[in-house]
């Protein structure tokens, strides 16, 4: 039986990685990811986790090690944030192109300059097109559960893709909160040992990562895209099995009081809970407000998302990363394109909030909803909480 414990979320994620029985951890410390890899390093040093901890000299090397170890057949883990992700990103494309089921927590943080160690989704949005499956956690329990789920999906022979589990830096990673920690036997029953389809083996030599001449590159990308699209069904199937085993069920898009809502807030990550409090408060005041929380970011759950919001007149879409002088923020662009394809004419308000650690309060959400309910959407996005 899972035990309810109070724990810092980063430590709990480290424990979850340990429960997944990883063989290799290759990571470079960077705030706010640090506590996860510190904890894993301790677990290895204390003999609680039988794994190779590779203290690399950079994130670029971390991902390179992950590629080598996964190709050799080892279950592999890494974690990073912001500038560390930026340095690593060159190699992230190679991990997905080689179909290597690496799991990584990105503890989301703003990109410099100005130098900021605080939370937003700049790194997550930068990683959008790397070909990694991506989920994002709302709270500590999800950060633990989604990390275990990530290995289940990534290593499935029908998928074989790297998996990025996002979690907000500080406002989630550094929180102490109650978490049900699964038992090792429960995780073992859910997550079978990693059995690579092909691997680097001196007895049976294969080549990983050769040149793709113009006559095969397009086909390789097509094959990757097909696998990526097909992974959605496995993501959902693995959540169903997770729910049956652990009693906590997850969906690609979750709604909160959205059924009869005229205005729906769209969020990702740990601010979703703050938005829920705003929904409750506005409902008390008689406003028909709901919430749609996107948990699966890639592959994007288009049908599930449209089903969740199709009844709304107004959408309040929160973006937490800049798309300088684009039509809207990266999340809102995705949503506008889905609405356009389906001929839906919702009034879409796009707010940028919580950049570089700026607090986003219940009241901020209430103000966004009030604005959406009483005015016509401007063509441009609006950055809120700006001192002028």
């Amino acid at each position: 039986m899972s035990k309810r414990v109070g724990m810092e979320v980063s430590i709990a994620v480290g424990e979850a990685v340990g429960l997944c029985n990883v063989d290799v951890v290759a990571a470079y410390p960077i705030t706010p990811q640090t506590h996860i890899v510190e904890h894993l390093s301790e677990m290895v040093a204390d003999g609680h986790l039988d794994a190779e901890f590779i203290p690399v000299e950079s994130e670029h090397s971390a991902m390179s090690c992950c590629i080598g170890s996964t190709a050799a057949g080892a279950r592999t883990y890494t974690s990073t944030s912001a500038q560390g992700y930026a340095l690593m990103s060159e190699i992230c494309y190679i991990a997905s192109g080689l179909r290597l089921p690496i799991v990584m927590n990105v503890v989301n943080r703003a990109l410099s300059a100005p130098i900021s160690i605080w939370n937003d989704h700049s790194d997550m949005m930068m990683s959008r097109d790397t070909g990694w499956i991506q989920t994002i956690a709302e709270n500590g329990q999800e950060a633990v559960d989604l990390t275990i789920h990530a290995y289940k999906v990534a290593e499935d022979p029908r998928v074989l893709l790297p998996f990025q589990v996002n979690m907000d830096g500080f406002i989630l990673s550094h929180m102490i909160e109650p978490i049900y920690m699964p038992e090792r036997s429960e995780v073992d029953a859910y997550l079978p040992p990693y059995k690579p389809v092909i691997r680097l083996d001196p007895q049976k030599p294969v080549t990983f990562g050769p040149v793709g001449m113009p006559d095969v590159y397009t086909e390789a990308k097509m094959a990757q895209d097909v696998a990526f699209k097909n992974s959605k069904a496995v993501v959902i199937e693995a959540w169903k099995e997770f729910g049956d085993k652990f009693g906590r069920y997850y969906k690609p898009v979750e709604t909160y009081k959205a059924e009869d809502a005229e205005t729906i807030i769209v969020t990702m990550g740990s601010l979703s809970e703050t938005a829920m409090s705003a929904v409750d408060h506005l409902r008390d005041g008689g406003m028909k407000v709901g919430l749609a929380r996107i948990r699966l970011w890639r592959p994007f759950p288009t049908e599930e998302f449209f089903d969740a919001i199709k009844g709304a007149k107004n959408l309040v879409v929160l973006d937490r990363a800049m798309n300088f002088a684009g039509d809207s923020g990266p999340v809102c662009m995705e949503i506008k394109s889905i609405l356009f394809d389906r001929g839906h004419s919702a009034n879409v308000f796009n707010f940028m909030a919580g950049l570089g650690g700026r607090d986003v309060t219940v009241q901020n959400f209430e103000e966004m909803v009030q604005k959406a309910a009483t005015s016509k959407a401007p063509a441009a996005y609006e950055i809120i909480n700006v001192r002028e």
Partner: protein, 182 residues
């Protein structure tokens, strides 16, 4: 939901105080949340840490702007930080000070209910260090009854290992010696 703001200086253990409070609440089966004011930590600089305790799941991650309780670990902060900022009606300020209520009110202008304890003295006496985190938890418990002393034991033991008992003693002594005004 009860919201607490801890004020201390980097190194005095304000963050640890907040964490232990939340862990004790979770130990009691309640919902608890603790977090620091995130940033590059510097020894000696004013720091804050926040706690929420509730019977319901806690659905916000914003900083605590309107606390029910403020705990001040270092008396020298009183003249440079407005520790009373945002304190809710009927709230209480728990102070580490060797001064009397009248002196504190005169020097700081604090109008809220006060709970006073000479935590620096107790910490030096019991543990030989001027770190007042666990000591001030005794004062917090006396002033508010928010959590039970017993619930703090396991979190303190997990955190402090061989020096846990001294911390528990300091906490218990502060509980006895804290004067809750009004």
């Amino acid at each position: 939901m009860v919201e607490i703001r801890f004020h201390g200086r980097g190194g005095q253990g304000a963050v640890t105080s907040a964490e232990l409070t939340a862990l004790a609440a979770i130990e009691e089966g309640k919902y608890g949340q603790a977090f620091p004011s995130f940033g590059p930590e510097r020894r000696g600089a004013p720091v804050m840490a926040f706690v929420r305790v509730s019977d319901e799941p806690i659905r916000t991650r914003e900083k605590v702007y309107e606390p029910n309780i403020v705990v001040v670990l270092d008396p020298t902060l009183l003249t440079i930080v407005n520790v009373e900022a945002g304190l809710r009606e009927g709230g209480v300020v728990v102070l580490n000070t060797s001064k009397s209520e009248a002196e504190v009110r005169k020097e700081t202008g604090i109008k809220a209910r006060l709970a006073l304890v000479d935590a620096s003295h107790i910490a030096m006496d019991t543990m030989r260090v001027p770190i007042t985190n666990t000591t001030m938890l005794g004062a917090l418990l006396k002033a508010t009854g928010l959590i039970k002393m017993d619930s703090l034991k396991a979190p303190i033991e997990n955190r402090f290992g061989p020096i846990a008992q001294k911390n528990i003693d300091a906490c218990a002594r502060a509980f006895e010696e804290t004067k809750v005004e009004g």
